[in-house]
């Protein structure tokens, strides 16, 4: 039963990402060229909603559906990896017009060329796995 829940949530995510147009190569170019409020509007209203959501969960000590306290992932405090890794990802985001979620949403939309992006992403992931201990963190 739980499996169905995550598939359905994924379906909802795929629909939202498509309808939001955040999966559009054109929209990502428009964003990086600062030529419309569109993507910034999506990101900021998502984050503002998220901040309110997290504040409400913390304030009322809300539990998840299993009755466990809700935990938030804590990012460790080193900064180099965020700046360098983030910049590398940012270039890929501009090249393909897609971040990891949209790559798979676009594949579902019928853009089979995304299979090449996925192949590249898995290769990049593997190389990171190999080099991880030699990179500045």
């Amino acid at each position: 039963m739980k499996a169905i829940k995550y598939i359905l949530t994924g379906i909802l995510f795929g629909i939202i990402m498509t309808k939001s147009e955040a999966v559009s190569w054109y929209r990502i170019q428009e964003m990086f060229r600062f030529q419309s409020i569109f993507m910034y509007g999506i990101l900021s209203t998502a984050v503002i909603s998220g901040i309110i959501l997290v504040a409400v969960i913390k304030r009322f000590h809300l539990k998840d559906t299993d009755g466990q306290p809700i935990q938030f992932p804590v990012k460790d405090k080193r900064w180099k990896k965020y700046l360098i890794g983030g910049s590398i990802f940012g270039m890929g985001w501009a090249f393909t017009g897609a971040c990891p979620g949209p790559i798979f949403v676009l594949l579902g939309q019928g853009y089979t060329i995304m299979l090449m992006v996925i192949a590249g992403a898995l290769a990049g992931t593997m190389l990171y796995g190999v080099l991880r201990n030699r990179l500045p963190q």
């Binding site: 498509t18 054109y26 890794g85 890929g92 992403a121 593997m126």
Partner: protein
């Protein structure tokens, strides 16, 4: 309902809708981080035997892989049944800029002139899609997250590391757009 969903969504509808995904996952006792799936797939392929980074029990992350499978289905449903048939309302300035790079605006979600298999066989196509994918995989794993993990979840929980990551996303994106693209699309 279908008609209602099919119209073009305003950004102030889409943003909170994305936060709804975060809410569903948090209340399920999970987190929202899509790029973790790239590691999950590598672990599933058995790479943990050779590379320590992938030595973890991917079955515990099965929910995220199911979420990924759902996102593919969601893309299919939205593209086939929830299309507005309106051209994308891209800004005129962007249309002009892209025209100078020989990428015509065709009103679709993705530029048909580059999102096709014959373009992939050019050096530009390989660089954009295979190279771009590589940068996404390497970069998101190095930064420990992508747009969902850092820009949405990390900023919603007010974490400085995620803000640094998002600044990185823009440094890379601006560098590609303003320094690399003029060379690539000359």
């Amino acid at each position: 309902m279908i008609k209602f969903l099919s119209q073009s969504w305003a950004w102030y509808v889409s943003g909170p809708a994305i936060a709804l995904i975060l809410a569903i996952l948090l209340f399920s006792g999970k987190t929202f981080g899509f790029s973790a799936n790239l590691s999950n797939i590598c672990s599933m392929m058995g790479l943990g035997k050779q590379i320590d980074y992938f030595k973890f029990d991917w079955k515990k992350q099965q929910w995220n892989l199911l979420f990924l499978a759902g996102s593919v289905i969601g893309g299919y449903i939205a593209a086939h049944y929830l299309q507005s048939n309106q051209p994308l309302s891209l800004s005129v300035a962007t249309i002009e800029d892209l025209k100078k790079m020989n990428i015509p605006f065709d009103g679709n979600m993705e530029p048909g002139s580059i999102f096709n298999w014959s373009y992939l066989l050019t050096w530009r196509g390989l660089l954009l899609f295979l190279g771009g994918g590589f940068l996404i995989g390497f970069g998101t794993r190095y930064a420990g997250g992508c747009t969902s993990g850092h820009a949405i979840t990390g900023l919603s929980t007010l974490q400085l590391p995620s803000l640094i990551a998002v600044i990185g996303f823009f440094i890379g994106g601006l560098f590609a757009t303003f320094i690399l693209f003029p060379v690539i699309f000359k």
